[in-house]
């Protein structure tokens, strides 16, 4: 740290120490499980639909015909899950901005959140973090057994304490900045489809 930085740091910390009020107790934070929704999967589906996400609850045994039917014009399909072979290798991206060439991105999320309809992604699942933002359409596989109740449960996932990057993603990008009406897309993906699909390596979240 350069000398100016050291002065700034010490000045700020001295001023904070001098001015901070008498120490107050940290409260105990409950998980509020008494108010949990009855059906985690059903509530997850309702929650994500409110945020313009699409859920496919029926079994999709073969992803290829599903993707071809849903995205007939897609040429570049990028897969970050070994469950599907895409048309482009993640390793081919020299710069992360090159992910903007992707039409459809498919990957697997390790956790869903019933309360909000969110799915968790981190640099582990994404590998190239921009693929879930620069692609036109995003398809996420999620094991229904890996849906947790609320945000308190969600933040217990180890990703939040271990990974350099993690995101709770809830629907495609949107903006309500013009006239208060939320429209899609904004800067990120145009659509988000979550396929409820048992994980080949099923394990509980976190």
């Amino acid at each position: 740290m350069n000398p100016t930085q050291t002065i700034s740091r010490n000045t700020i910390l001295d001023s904070v120490r001098k001015n901070q009020p008498a120490s107050q107790q940290m409260p105990t934070i409950p998980h509020f499980h008494t108010n949990m929704p009855a059906g985690l999967v059903a509530t997850f589906c309702e929650s994500i639909a409110r945020m313009a996400g699409v859920v496919v609850a029926d079994n999709v045994p073969d992803l290829d015909p599903f993707l071809r039917a849903k995205f007939p014009d897609a040429k570049v399909i990028c897969s970050a899950t070994p469950e599907y072979a895409g048309t482009i290798e993640l390793a081919s991206f020299k710069h992360w901005s090159e992910a903007s060439t992707i039409d459809v991105c498919i990957l697997r999320s390790p956790m869903g959140v019933s309360e909000t309809g969110s799915i968790l992604l981190s640099d582990v699942e994404l590998q190239v973090n921009t693929i879930a933002f620069l692609a036109h359409d995003l398809v996420v596989l999620l094991d229904p057994k890996q849906i947790v109740g609320n945000i308190h449960d969600a933040y217990e996932h180890s990703h939040f304490k271990q990974r350099p990057y993690s995101v709770l993603m809830t629907g495609p990008s949107g903006s309500g900045d013009i006239n208060g009406i939320t429209v899609h897309p904004a800067q990120g993906v145009k659509t988000l489809t979550v396929i409820l699909s048992p994980s080949p390596n099923a394990e509980r979240p976190g």
Binding site: Q5, S8, R9, T11, I12, L13, S15, V16, R17, K18, N19, Q20, P21, S23, Q24, Q25, M26, P27, I29, P30, F32, N35, S47, R50, M51, W96, S97, S100, T116, S118, N129, F133, N150, I151, H152, A154, Y155, F160, K161, P164, Y165, S166, V167, L168, M169, T170, G171, S173, G174, S175, G176, D177, I178, N179, G180, V183, A186, Q187, G188, V189
Partner: protein, 465 residues
């Protein structure tokens, strides 16, 4: 020294344009209603508000320890942590980081702190081209206006305003005011900047001391793109944004979007803990008056704010006068209690832009006693001789009246008659700033005192509850 911002006078311009005024009022009230509906769906809502308030008070009262903990953790994660005493130090640090990379362009997501520090003009004067990637913020940048609202910076503009602006700046169809079309125009025009910029910048909604994490909540995906597409991510953070743990973060995430827009969560709630391989991540911890505010016994609670804007959406003065009328970075009820700590004279009139109805306090997710602080600031202005003359005179009259009960009763009994007989100018004059543009409600035929005298129980009567 700056002249005081005359919020009431500025509001007159906004009020003169009934299309914008009525639209904003309706739009923000709808947001307030959505916030109420969202809160009702969470049975533990009030418990969460109490917890959020207690967590913030705990953190702020142990702030030095948490700042040190965050610094150690973030550094261990590979983040380079900087400290800035004021806006200039912050801006200079950003510029130095950009210069080291020879970065002449910067993409950034919305950050009220960078507005507070006036970063954009600072960088632009030094030849750095800045692109705001949040739709509302970009609209305001293109229109050369500051944000009018801390969540929806361009909320005061109609779709037609935006269509005309985009047509001028981007050559789009001026007659197409469909918000989806306009968002598409923004996407098309901003994407090349996002893909090619050598540096990106974000603010932070929360900073987690335990893990060294920066948490950013957005709907557009622009913060994640600004942080991850370029090889350099700079993050500006006010020192009051720290919370202790990931466990405590859950409380705030459950409150934030519901309080702001009525949604359960934002589309993207992102956590940045360290740089990716081959890239750099810098965090600038900014004081800029915050540590001093922490020592203000009456006002330090305003540092609990999580910038949801619920207090603005519910405030009748804000809804009717628009955010730009406050002439300040932070506006509405929360702005009223924050801005005087930056420059007391310049913002000396803001505490009077309130009806003190307490609605702001009732909706605040971290239980800041906003309306009481507004009243407190009025007292400070009075003590410091900063009270505007018209308001001072009105307060002197009120003080005289309230200290003489008989005089007060006589005056209230006369109101009904007075409203009928007094000429318009006597009611709607300069001494009654809020009488302008407002109809004084019809006074009741009977005063409360007269009613109570007629109905009060006799000494031997039982009072029915």
């Amino acid at each position: 020294m700056s002249a005081p911002v005359d919020q009431a006078k500025n509001a007159e311009k906004f009020l003169a344009d009934t299309v914008h005024e009525q639209r904003l009022d309706k739009l923000l009230w709808a947001m307030r209603m959505r916030r109420d509906a969202a809160a009702r769906q969470v049975p533990e809502w009030e418990d969460l508000r109490t917890l959020a308030s207690e967590i913030k008070e705990h953190t702020l009262s142990n702030l030095s320890d948490y700042l040190i903990q965050f610094e150690a953790k973030a550094t261990a994660n590979g983040v380079i942590v900087h400290w800035a005493r004021d806006a200039h130090e912050h801006n200079q640090t950003v510029y130095d980081l950009l210069s080291e990379q020879r970065a002449e362009t910067l993409v950034k997501s919305k950050s009220m702190l960078t507005e507070e520090c006036e970063l954009r003009p600072f960088l632009e004067r030094r030849g750095v081209r800045v692109t705001e990637t949040d739709l509302g913020e970009r609209i305001q940048q293109l229109d050369d206006q500051p944000p009018g609202h801390i969540v929806g910076p361009a909320i005061h503009k109609t779709t037609h305003d935006v269509a005309v602006l985009f047509s001028e700046k981007y050559g789009s169809d001026p007659n197409n005011d469909d918000p989806a079309y306009l968002a598409g125009v923004m996407r098309e025009n901003t994407r090349p900047d996002l893909l090619n910029a050598p540096a990106g910048m974000t603010g932070a909604n929360f900073v987690v001391a335990e893990t060294g994490a920066i948490v950013v909540a957005t709907n557009e995906g622009n913060a994640d793109l600004s942080a991850h597409t370029p090889p350099l991510h700079i993050c500006s953070v006010g020192i009051e944004k720290i919370i202790p743990t990931t466990e405590s973060l859950a409380v705030f995430i459950r409150l934030l979007a519901r309080s702001a827009t009525g949604e359960a969560i934002t589309q993207y709630t992102s956590m940045f803990r360290g740089p990716r391989k081959g890239a750099a991540m810098h965090v600038i911890l900014v004081d800029n008056g915050r540590s001093e505010r922490l020592g203000m016994k009456r006002f330090w609670h305003s540092l609990k704010c999580i910038r949801c804007a619920a207090c603005m959406n519910t405030c009748p003065v804000y809804r009717r006068s628009g955010g730009l009328s406050y002439g300040s970075t932070y506006m509405g009820p929360i702005g009223i209690i924050m801005m005087p700590t930056f420059e007391i004279r310049k913002y000396s009139e803001l505490p009077f832009a309130s009806t003190l109805n307490g609605s702001c306090t009732n909706v605040c997710p971290v239980k800041i006693d906003i309306h009481e602080q507004i009243y407190g600031w009025r007292e400070v202005m009075e003590e410091n001789g900063q009270t505007p003359i018209v308001k001072k005179e009105a307060m002197r009259v009120a003080d005289e009246m309230l200290s003489h009960p008989a005089l007060y009763q006589m005056a209230t009994a006369a109101v009904s008659t007075a409203l009928e007989v007094l000429p318009h100018f006597a009611i709607y004059n300069r001494l009654n700033v809020w009488g302008k543009h407002r109809d004084v409600p019809q006074a009741g035929a009977e005063t409360f005192h007269a009613w109570y005298k007629a109905h009060r129980p006799k000494a031997n009567e039982e009072v029915k509850s």
